[in-house]
Symmetry: D2
Subunit: 335 residues, 4 copies
């Protein structure tokens, strides 16, 4: 960590700062310039409160040299992490597609979709039982019953299941869920992160709509600090000024996260774009950018034929997409 | 609600959509144009899922005419809401300043600060006991003990207290807290919103770093839908591309929120700017823009003299600010 | 265009608005509701000033049904535009790679790079002669001499050349340049757009750092309104809150632009990411998303070996990338 | 400037970098750590290309300690600059209001508005003759004739005039204009900045919709590098994700700019909000935040009564606002 101190500060303030740094167990290298003095802090600075220091009047600037995350940091864990969900491996050379409906609706629906996506090559089943909705008046999911239906679909197809948890108080219901999803709105619900960290289960952690990649890694660190290193990162679109697309899918996040971290990174093109006909191009784009997997909405809802255009693909569209996915993987060295 | 449908859609899809709308109990006015047909939906559309409709291939655009919130909407409640916290009134013509330290640290600290801010004219005491921190390695607050110390300061000074709740599981500890704060990171923690709605206590709801004003009002709606109309909205800076200030304090939010809603709106200049010398100008700016109150960090920490420049004001700076605040209120018609 | 009028407005104001609309040669359909009245404007509304209308007190909301651009609009030109630069075709099924150095430096440099990128498969040469720099103290390009050197490289290799124009006053120097580039900072320099429109040359129009896709199409419309339909759109990263990457490359812009417009869309991964090792993944991602081409920085600068890591690729890296590009094109149906 | 170099780089690369720095006339202090080496550059680094350095593979991070602007920098010019326009002073303790119509329309209109705003206390007249419009089909201003009408209004009232220049080719027409405005879209039209720098006239420089404060100061530097220090900075709203207001007026820009620079800062609440009823609260907010002036749209257009709600105030509303402005100035120490 580098601290640039204004030379106009009181000598006593400067002494106080130096002592406080040394009390943290750190060494300091001092370079005096004409207007400013540069302090180079040497040692483990991951626990130093950068906001506190940068708010001091005497401080001109502060910059971390060392990242504030350790467990998620590639510097201390150069090899790619491969998360295992039953027999399914994600990360490293392994590429996986998670598919299923936005919400679990009926037993028939979830089992039919599960069979269809499995036939096309998906290796995990997604489905929402607890739905975070902007409006208190919108459908909030089948909750516990939704989880039961997912488990039936798993029994029927063998696909491991992924579902979103909204509250610590529902954790018991997720005992047999294979991968717990933390949604974008809860990315910084730190109490929830600690609790899912304690489960030891694989966690699919979605980036918040307006969270930086460093904050995403800090949230992964919350989970990992509880001893759980099975974290899958997921980019699902960020909030920008653009309005022609629902969100802006940030695919540069993939190489940037892989530079900084060893954790697998997957992409959710369905929520990012909100438009089914953009799902295929953005899925292929994600593979080009180096993603370790995709999570895609697929529905099977013949009685609501007018709904064809939603962000979900139907099984035929999904099957076409999977054919192209398989062709692309060798070009980027994935299996 | 207005739905613009492409004339290229199948007649059967069009019929399905029309039936679905009528099943929701709404009337539809149809205007056919050359390329598109405009549907005007008449009735209570606050519960219609706009995302679902806009994702249909046959739909070109959808626009709400009616806002998706009712309880928070000024159209249905033209008079300003005045929230009462003991004898303290906030909203309407009433202007209040909430002050206190970022974190509760010791009994001595919180009582000393409480006395100081009261002497300068603050009418409520703030203090963090549960702290949401980006890093799992940062200090997370005194928790239950912090709440106890706040209650002592209340007993000593008579000031009502405001403190942040992070998790439903800690709600019992807040039984004697006067105002429960929901922080920016939990603005869309809908499970938490429902629970604080049930308490009937005044809720200080902070806008998320990247949440729109409509989303803020929808989160207020979650609380109000539980029968609790005592909601104070708080703007505390939004995330933008600018890096010279920590966040961008969005003061146009004040007149915009007051157009749309009857709820009181306060401003947190301390967190928005992160720099103590910006707190005074941004406080006066907030009053100019029509705020109903301020929430300001004040510390009293002589043993950490090097920390003078933090985002907190010291009691002397706070006293100076309060003098200017009192001069400004008559200009904007506040008491 | 739909205008939602508040029923609380004065009848005389309403009459004034209706007359004003009719004076514009438009028909109006009126639907009266309880709180609001909806006006559906029928006719050519592309020239109606939406800002003016939406700023009226009596108006609740305004929404365009018809886009404000005509020449760039796919509705009126369903087939993909194919821009021809000599024998090189861009758009439709044709995919092209434009490559070359950020700045033209010396005759030796530009000719060597031109030969190298041609050998690897690039079909156009880029090179900056006029450089827009944030600082007045930074190198501003070789200007006219740089253009001369590009023309020599063209003579040597046969590659058409692409270079950026900053000011109307330099237009004469671009008489033999094949494609004139309008950079991101000048995307809304409307006087410059009109002038390059008059040249009839192919124009490579870069999206501004914080401009919406609709604004990009409106700027294309400025060029096309002068009778020049040879416009190539280019996405090069937008400004967001994220700081781990230089800009956020918005690849969803590709399917969104192709929905709305018939113009070819290319991607600049070099400027978007600012890091050479991200150029390959983001290039492959762009192809996956449906781009019609890439514009990539390639340098050849052995005497500045320490500069290897810049956003430019060296010829070997570029050659490797081109190998993967060729493998990907058939998957997305490009040649 | 601080450069953090990875210890994994080649010794020869490190040597090359060291030599290159020394060739720039700078001294280097080297601190070697376990994973990284910190270089502290001492000397005038305002002309070092930070983008180039940060793009090197061997470089982990770069940070400026010294700002890249000199003429605009308060460090080298601690006193506030007071710009004089005839007898009118702006900056320091002086507060001024510039008012007038968005566009100059007729002689009668501009003279009537000029007299009205002068009577209420405005000290300069604004009016657009050249209008930058997103659409090529929108009204683009009266151009040269508009300037002539402004000069008549000046002759009639004695008010200095402010008008926007779009292109170097129109500069001759501005010979008698008192203050040349550079609009938001041209903030980085560097060729235009250089030319207005050469005029020696006061320049009103508006911040671009998505430009950082540092970029605004760099654009001021372009003007000042030509020997013209008469620059007035203007914040007029930035582009964010929020859609309930047209732009987000960034009032924290005022204290932040005043920390970094000695130049006067004014606010345009009319364009920022786009809604006339928000102009008064945001004007008072701007004064609270420490602005040196306001630029406000005022129209006088009885024959277009339906247009009352536009972003412009009418003369009566402007007069009411000016009364409140005068009451506020003493609180913030302005005259």
């Amino acid at each position: 960590m580098i601290i640039v101190v204004k030379n106009s500060c009181e000598p006593s303030q400067f002494e106080n700062l130096m002592e406080w740094i040394k009390d943290l167990g750190l060494d300091v290298h001092v370079s005096r310039g004409v207007h400013t003095t540069i302090l180079g802090l040497v040692g483990d600075t991951s626990k130093v409160d950068i906001d506190l220091i940068s708010s001091l009047d005497m401080v001109d600037q502060v910059q971390r040299v060392q990242e504030p995350y350790k467990n998620a940091n590639r510097k201390f864990h150069p090899e790619d992490t491969v998360v295992e969900v039953g027999d399914v491996k994600i990360g490293g050379l392994n590429f996986q597609v998670i598919a299923g409906p936005c919400s679990v609706e009926t037993e028939e629906q979830i089992i039919e979709v599960a069979k269809a996506v499995k036939a096309s090559g998906a290796t995990m089943l997604r489905g929402g039982a607890f739905k975070p909705r902007t409006s208190p008046y919108a459908f909030q999911g089948l909750k516990g019953k939704g989880i039961q239906l997912l488990l039936k679909a798993k029994a029927e197809t063998g696909l491991p299941i992924v579902s979103e948890l909204l509250s610590v108080t529902d954790l018991d219901l997720f005992a047999d869920v294979d991968v717990i999803q933390i949604g974008a709105r809860n990315m910084q619900n730190f109490e929830l992160l600690k609790e899912v960290g304690k489960t030891g289960k694989p966690i699919l952690l979605k980036r918040g709509l307006a969270n930086t990649l460093q904050e995403l890694l800090m949230s992964a660190e919350y989970i990992m600090a509880e001893g759980n290193s099975e974290v899958i990162l997921c980019e699902r679109g960020i909030r920008t000024f653009e309005t022609m697309t629902r969100n802006t899918l940030d695919l540069s996040a993939i190489p940037a996260l892989k530079d900084k971290s060893h954790l697998p990174v997957i992409i959710d093109p369905s929520h990012a774009t909100g438009v089914s006909r953009y799902v295929e191009p953005m899925s292929l784009a994600a593979i080009g950018a180096g993603a370790d997997g995709l999570i895609i909405e697929v529905h099977n809802n013949p009685q609501k034929a007018w709904c064809d255009g939603a962000q979900s693909l139907n099984p035929t569209q999904f099957d076409t997409l999977m054919g192209k996915v398989r062709k692309m993987l060798p070009i980027v060295g994935k299996i």
